[in-house]
Symmetry: C2
Subunit: 232 residues, 2 copies
DNA sequence: ACCTGAACACCGTTCAAGT
DNA sequence: ACCTGAACACCGTTCAAGT
């Protein structure tokens, strides 16, 4: 990952048509590479310009400010979300969970960006319009009423966001809860959290390890079971 | 909210015991006021020092860097979470939802801090140890096995985080989805999201307005129903 | 130990000027 | 329209020096 270096000498003035050195798309792609490789803090306007071999100010002709760059990145990420094609031969439960998995995958492809993506309401609601269709479809097939569909979709999206946030905040895909949690629990004043203490101890003895994949699946299963019970 | 102004002249050197002008607690409380009033970006070390009437560098004797200040704020927020006292006379379902409400309330008391709070894994898991006990207790009373309890608690926390993130990102407590959503949906290419389009249209006609309170409650109800179906 | 002042190596963005 | 260079008003943090 070599730095493209200084903008080079002179070369000022408007480039001829077709010779533009920059575009919104090219800028966003470069920004995404920086964020993926080195995190949000490394993505400064000056750094971005430097990797593009361009004057920092040039970027402002394509995007109004730094916030717009980040918003554009959120857009990019959701644009890469794989569309779940309608298929009446799968159970609505599977259509729902497949859609949820695609959503999770899109976010975790760029963990350094998760915080930005999940908190950028504008970007989120823009894609919600497009990416949320499979959720609507699955629940419609299940036979829910419009108001119920909206409720359930919101709940699933909230779960997806919370889960993705947690997943992105941790580097490893699987890690042992046991030592960390046991140490914390041991440090607690006697009787302060008795149930927690007991549950963790019982699990600790059989060797608990948390992994995100099964945590994700069990969360989805819980919600699906809730839908079946409440609305069918 | 008047600025406390410049550190004042001279007054250098170590203060006598009991005359310290600063403390970790005082610094964090000042930082929280800034964040609550003007947001995360306004909370700079120099600004913080200025409102404390102190040299910017003084802060570094109590907290190692800016990140530590933010981490301390996350701590503070969860410290304000109201403990749910054990009470066997309430149904476990109510104990669970009451605990969830307390968690939501703690986060939304400082919306500008939500992003930091929810993504600071260290802070989150530190309080999890203490604040998660009521969730464990309720599910234990319901009769779940340890492994099931952990699964369900994680799912609820994920939902809480996703929900809180969304709630914090919006200024108003209630807002009309209709105009915004209808506009977006109208702008869609024909047939691109047919179910969404239909569902939104049906709701739009009877006048949909989303409000966070009922969205929260219906999410909780869904999860509780899932627990009852899957594990009881 | 606790507070200060000057300094370093950065930022995002405005503005005037080039073609 | 698109790119540049200099400048403005900031940052977080290190370091040496005070008491």
């Amino acid at each position: 990952m070599v730095n493209a270096g200084k903008p080079g000498p002179g070369r000022s003035g408007r480039p001829r048509s077709g010779e533009e050195r920059l575009s919104r798309q090219a800028i966003l792609e470069a920004a995404l590479r920086i964020v993926d490789a080195e995190g949000m803090d490394a993505m400064t306007m000056r750094r971005l310009a430097s990797t593009l071999g361009v004057n920092p100010m040039s970027i402002y002709h394509h995007l109004p400010n730094k916030a717009a760059v980040f918003a554009g990145l959120a857009e990019l990420v959701f644009g890469q979300l794989e569309a779940v094609t309608p298929d009446d031969s799968v159970r609505w439960q599977d259509e729902l969970t497949n859609s949820a998995r695609a959503y999770r995958d899109a976010v975790r492809a760029h963990p350094n960006l998760a915080l930005q993506v999940l908190s950028d309401t504008a970007a989120v609601s823009d894609v919600v319009v497009v990416t949320v269709e499979p959720f609507y479809r699955a629940l419609d097939r299940a036979g829910l009423e419009p108001r119920q569909i909206v409720e359930v979709v919101n709940t699933i999206i909230d779960f997806l966001h919370g889960f993705s946030l947690g997943e992105a905040s941790v580097q490893a895909e699987t890690f042992d809860l046991a030592p960390d949690l046991l140490r914390r629990v041991r440090g607690l004043p006697e009787g302060k959290a008795p149930t927690l203490t007991r549950v963790v101890r019982e699990l600790g003895e059989i060797g608990l390890h948390y992994d995100f994949d099964s945590g994700f699946e069990s969360g989805l299963a819980l919600i699906v079971a809730g839908v079946e019970t409440r609305f069918l």
